[in-house]
């Protein structure tokens, strides 16, 4: 049984870490981009961003004034039990979101879509989103918070098998350039691409590819991993850098996730996780131990399973 007070306290710490500390994998990726960037203005922007991450950590203040729309991804081992059950868990995550909004402070971004009511705490109808995943075996809970910016850089399109890789490339470039101009996407970004699923799951896949995979990670399908490398290079060959200035750094990394789709279609979504790629992760164990990390490790072999049954022993052997 995992104590609910530890979950809430951990969640509050995660909110703080996500807003303030740039994950090391993104930082390494951006430093590599800064080293090869030769556009005058683009270089200036990247250097300013690198200084900004330092300032945020030194001052313990949010790295960006737009602290995005905080949300939660929760993953549990199959044997996990939470004190008070799932209702208590959701209440703890909502409380942590509200408390951290006031505490860090974060920008209270969440408002009613029509009446623009602002509770000044990032909590409201459907906010924060809480999504779940499960893994075979184990008694632990992974709390993952992502504070993604929410206005530009994302798009969806229904493609068809006849569009092929050439069509996928076209929509990828269209999305990058449309939102890259003037830097609306706050690039260089982690670009997540969702392929397949249904319209809603395609969006979910792309968003998770951007937010729940780290810079340098690869899809477990070697041919998709090859596409990821090719797309990263393609994005960086546009000739556009930070803020849409002439440069060569648009894509810190490109992550692709796929889902089985309608036989006639090839849904595609593109998401950009920005210069403030805010994510923080902690695992809470049944004995109350808490381990912090920045890699959500969401896309396990189990999450990408293709068959009816899950052959658990095979996974254990493979790992």
């Amino acid at each position: 049984m995992i104590p609910i007070d530890i979950i809430q306290k951990t969640a509050e710490t995660l909110m703080d870490k996500a807003a303030i500390e740039i994950p090391q994998d993104y930082l390494d990726g951006l430093q590599a981009a800064a080293e090869v960037e030769d556009g005058d203005l683009s270089s200036f922007v990247l250097q300013a961003m690198l200084e900004n991450y330092e300032a945020a950590k030194e001052d313990r203040r949010a790295m960006c004034g737009d602290t995005g729309t905080p949300r939660w991804y929760v993953k549990m081992g199959n044997e996990t039990q939470i004190e008070g059950g799932p209702i208590a868990l959701e209440a703890a995550l909502r409380r942590a979101t509200a408390n951290a909004t006031n505490g860090v402070p974060l920008r209270p971004n969440r408002v009613h879509p029509l009446w623009r009511t602002d509770h000044n705490n990032n909590v409201g109808i459907g906010a924060p989103e809480i999504e779940y995943g499960y893994e075979p075996g184990g008694e632990w809970i992974d709390l993952i918070t992502v504070h993604k910016g929410g206005l530009f850089g994302t798009d969806y399109r229904m493609l068809f098998p006849s569009d092929g890789i050439e069509g996928i490339k076209r929509f990828y470039l269209d999305s990058l350039i449309a939102f890259g101009k003037r830097g609306l996407a706050c690039q260089p970004a982690i670009i997540g691409i969702g392929l397949g699923g249904c319209k809603d799951t395609c969006m979910v896949l792309g968003k998770r590819a951007a937010c729940l995979r780290t810079v340098g990670s690869e899809n477990s399908d070697p041919k998709i991993a090859e596409l990821e490398r090719e797309f990263k290079e393609l994005g960086n060959s546009i000739g556009m850098g930070a803020m849409g200035f002439v440069g060569k750094s648009m894509v810190v990394d490109c992550n692709i996730e796929v889902g089985y789709c309608h036989t006639g279609g090839m849904q595609m979504s593109v998401h950009a996780f920005c210069l403030s790629s805010r994510r923080a992760v902690a695992r809470v164990h049944a004995d109350g131990r808490v381990e912090y990390r920045t890699d959500p490790d969401w896309f396990t072999a189990y999450q990408r399973r293709e068959t009816v049954e899950w052959d658990a022993p095979a996974l254990d052997a493979a790992e």
Binding site: L41, M49, E51, G65, P108
Partner: protein
């Protein structure tokens, strides 16, 4: 070649504004206020009295909602500050400039050269863009003091009118000049020269989008 760096007052002289060149890096001193759709609607559509003496106190309008809170004792805690995209506010700006005398519009992503020529140039105003975007912590360091927050009851913390005392606050990039030229459009034009080559080997989608264009010099704003 590294960009030119300039310190500028938030109640600048016309001479100082006219001297700014596209791509200059600017650091600001003096009072600055946040105003975006909430403030514009309240001041211009609902005709509420602006709770500051403008432009005497400040001629710098920041398109920003800070990550900030009001403490129970009425003091303020301001962490990070960054801008929101300005193009959405174009419809209110001509009237706002006339009413507020704003000379510096500060935000994200700039506006079009058409907007600059239509109402920035006649008012002698300049657009400054934040950098990154997302140098929120650096800009936060430039906030010497939060002087006041107006209309937070009516508009909420994110849309309220925050009055900030800036001390060497920056960096910002000059994105329009006295002629109404646009830094982002200049860069767009340079990038566009390469696009034909980048798109080689791609194919247009089988299912078209109604009303969409294939003109790659287009923008989404």
């Amino acid at each position: 070649m590294s960009p030119r760096k300039i310190r500028l007052s938030t109640t600048p002289t016309q001479e100082a504004l006219d001297d700014l060149r596209l791509g200059d890096i600017v650091y600001l001193d003096g009072l600055m206020y946040t105003a975006r759709e909430g403030v514009y609607k309240r001041a211009l559509e609902d005709k509420a009295n602006i709770p500051m003496e403008l432009p005497r106190d400040s001629a710098a309008n920041f398109h920003c909602s800070p990550a900030a809170r009001i403490n129970p004792d009425g003091t303020f805690e301001m962490g990070a500050v960054t801008a929101t995209a300005s193009f959405r506010f174009a419809k209110w700006l001509p009237e706002w400039m006339a009413k507020s005398g704003a000379k510096l519009i500060i935000g994200k992503g700039g506006m079009t050269s058409k907007d600059y020529k239509a109402f920035f140039v006649p008012n002698g105003a300049i657009y400054l863009s934040t950098v990154g975007y997302g140098t929120g912590a650096l800009l936060g360091r430039g906030v010497e003091k939060v002087e006041a927050v107006h209309w937070n009851e009516e508009l909420g913390l994110a849309q309220a009118m925050w009055v900030i005392k800036c001390n060497n606050m920056g960096p910002f990039i000059v994105a329009s000049d006295k002629n109404g030229d646009c830094l982002f459009e200049r860069e767009n034009a340079k990038v566009a020269q390469n696009l034909e080559r980048v798109y080689e080997g791609t194919r247009p989608a089988t299912l078209k989008r109604y009303g969409e264009t294939d003109d790659r010099s287009d923008e989404v704003i």
